[in-house]
């Protein structure tokens, strides 16, 4: 990995140079909530944001996406995408994208996702966890790959890790803005990471998590929380790794139509419903448990399907906490 330094006074210029790589989207604060929006200057970006409501998956798997266009009775391939820059992704969200990559880029690759992924420049930024974050427990608090540049805050600027060829190109074209990293910068970087590692309040015990959950299939804890759960599906909408989608066709006028994909949630009763009315997950308990199993599935090559971003906790209207549910399920086993 190549490390370079971006002094504070050059930050604005560096940010403006990113526009050469496409429209720039970054975290913008509106009232109490934050979301990724198009930005035109560094002053619009909330550099110290905690988390956005919708994760960056919305740029790749859109909430509502017209994938195919119907014209004169024929489908037209609707794959189109322009280059864009995602500025200010946290490490957990970068890991979230990697999990989506595993699904959408495996053969046969999803052409829409693939095109958008290839067109995206990802610039990460370091963060300080809040009371909902538990990414450290899952090992997603630090991104080793999956980004083009990653900015770590220093007292007098940013330590930049270059993670891809495109990252090198960006650094190359803005050569004058960067400096070599000094011993002092590295010490500051380490101090920041140590301070950050200590500030996690929430911890998930992932020891034998997958096995433990499997054993606890009939635990009464599932029932307890399924009764509290409103089955609104908020947690799945804001999850950076939830990716279920529904497909439907819609007519625009008498001659033209579109095939649309939109987010679906395993909390909806229709999720497991098949033709003829049989439902493979008929109760709220079934659906609630299914989400926890899906998120806690451990893939040896990619880890858990959860990145510990804390969105599902923060945006749950019933105040159900992911870590607490898993801990209680574990407790019910003993």
């Amino acid at each position: 990995m190549r490390y370079i330094k971006l002094p504070s006074e050059n930050f604005g210029e560096f940010f403006n140079s990113l526009r050469a790589w496409g429209k720039v989207y970054g975290p913008v604060k509106k009232g109490k909530v934050c979301s990724f929006q198009e930005v035109h200057g560094v002053e619009e970006v909330a550099l110290d944001y905690k988390r956005t409501t919708l994760p960056p998956k919305k740029f790749f798997v859109r909430p509502r996406d017209a994938v195919l266009k119907l014209k004169n009775g024929r489908w037209e391939n609707g794959v189109e995408s322009e280059p864009f820059v995602l500025f200010g992704l946290h490490s957990c969200d970068i890991h979230g994208l990697k999990i989506l990559d595993k699904v959408y880029l495996s053969e046969p690759a999803d052409p829409y996702y693939k095109a958008r992924r290839e067109n995206a420049t990802v610039i990460g930024i370091s963060c300080i966890p809040d009371e909902y974050c538990f990414c450290k427990s899952l090992g997603t608090d630090f991104a080793m790959d999956g980004f083009d540049l990653f900015l770590h805050e220093l007292p007098d600027g940013w330590l930049v890790r270059v993670g891809s060829v495109r990252g090198h190109e960006i650094a190359w074209e803005n050569e004058g803005l960067f400096e070599e990293v000094t011993e002092g910068d590295l010490a500051n970087f380490r101090a920041f990471e140590e301070k950050r590692a200590k500030s996690f309040g929430r911890k998930l015990n992932k020891e034998g998590l997958a096995d433990m959950l499997d054993l606890a299939y009939n635990s009464p804890v599932w029932k307890k929380y399924a009764d509290i759960c409103l089955a609104c599906g908020n947690c799945t909408m804001v999850c950076p790794t939830c990716r279920c989608y529904e497909v439907c066709d819609r007519w625009l006028n008498a001659y033209e139509g579109v095939r649309e994909r939109r987010y679906d949630s395993c909390f909806m009763e229709s999720h497991g419903l098949v033709a003829g009315g049989h439902n493979f997950r008929p109760t709220r308990l079934d659906r609630f448990r299914h989400r926890y199993y899906c998120k806690s599935y451990f893939d040896p090559s990619a880890g858990f399907n959860c990145v510990g971003c804390g969105r599902c906790d923060e945006f749950c209207p019933a105040k159900i906490e992911h870590v607490k549910v898993l801990d209680e399920v574990r407790g019910s086993l003993q």
Binding site: L213, G257, G276
Partner: protein
């Protein structure tokens, strides 16, 4: 097949046949001969039918791959889209993409006995196996145990009656169980007293001896059926690895992206569309929620 796996190929309906009041058999052929040439499948695989402007739905292939130049789909009128398809006629076109899924391991089972256990609409994917096995002649003996509700619900009735009558000559024994009595059923029962009875599909096992070391069971039917049939087979000491089941889920994309067909728990997650729809009983034992 194409660069965009969600794009379907146009197929023309060559024939529409009423099988029962609810099910129709559609015989199709790709409009582009080159696509038709490339289209090859295994018994047990499925396709996604694309009705432009209305939506898509998955349907298992019910004709055997040994019959070239066309393929058949048995479609039950169960929802909005299938209702629309039921109104289609000869010459109309639909989109087809696929085939998807793993299919039955027909090559592995060569030389063995096949015990096909079908319940209701489960006859459709197993018909592909049945005729593939008969056409290829590579299997020692084939049993078809078929349970239906009533006489009117028997799918491929003429083929079943034909096999009841002449099946033995093709190394195939067919047995039929029905639940609702009717004059036609009684007539069938009188004609084939050893082969037709009133009851459920597990009743058909009575009196049948399979060499469990040489037999494979292939099951398809409504969700409730699997448990009872598997119990019957395990009682006869058939190894779980020799029990194949083909399952149904809400498969939207067919290629493991949309997430509707995910089953299992944290230790074993399976996509029915990609890892299945054919699973062995071993898979069912290690993946909760499969059956």
């Amino acid at each position: 097949m194409s660069e965009n796996p969600y794009l379907s190929y146009e197929a023309r309906i060559l024939e529409v046949k009423d099988l029962t009041p609810r099910e129709k058999l559609f015989t199709l052929r790709f409009t582009d001969p080159e696509v038709g040439e490339r289209f090859d499948f295994k018994p047990g695989q499925f396709v996604i039918v694309d009705v432009r402007g209305f939506g898509e739905f998955p349907i298992s292939l019910c004709s055997p791959p040994t019959r070239k130049g066309y393929f058949q789909l048995c479609i039950r009128k169960a929802g909005r889209m299938t209702k629309f398809v039921h109104r289609m006629e000869e010459g109309d076109t639909v989109g087809i993409r696929g085939p998807y899924g793993n299919g039955f391991p027909m090559e592995k089972m060569e030389g063995s006995n096949l015990v096909l256990v079908a319940g209701g609409l489960g006859m459709a994917p197993l018909r592909s196996v049945l005729w593939y096995a008969i056409d290829s002649g590579k299997y020692e003996h084939i049993w078809l145990l078929y349970g239906t509700k009533a006489y009117e619900d028997i799918l491929f009735r003429d083929e079943i009656v034909h096999l009841l009558r002449h099946g033995e000559a093709m190394n195939c024994s067919v047995k039929l169980a029905y639940e609702v009595e009717s004059p036609s059923c009684i007539y069938l029962e009188e004609g084939f007293s050893q082969k037709v009875c009133r009851g459920v599909v597990t009743d058909l096992f009575r009196g049948e001896e399979f060499d469990v070391n040489k037999a494979y069971a292939l099951i398809c039917g409504p969700p409730v059926m699997y448990k009872f049939v598997v119990r019957e087979l395990l009682n006869r000491k058939l190894s779980p690895g020799r029990i194949y089941m083909t399952l149904e889920r809400r498969m939207r994309c067919g290629i493991g992206k949309c997430g509707h067909c995910i089953v299992g728990t944290s230790t074993s997650i399976k996509y029915v569309c990609r890892d299945g729809p054919v699973f062995t009983y071993w898979d069912a034992l290690s993946t909760r929620g499969l059956i």
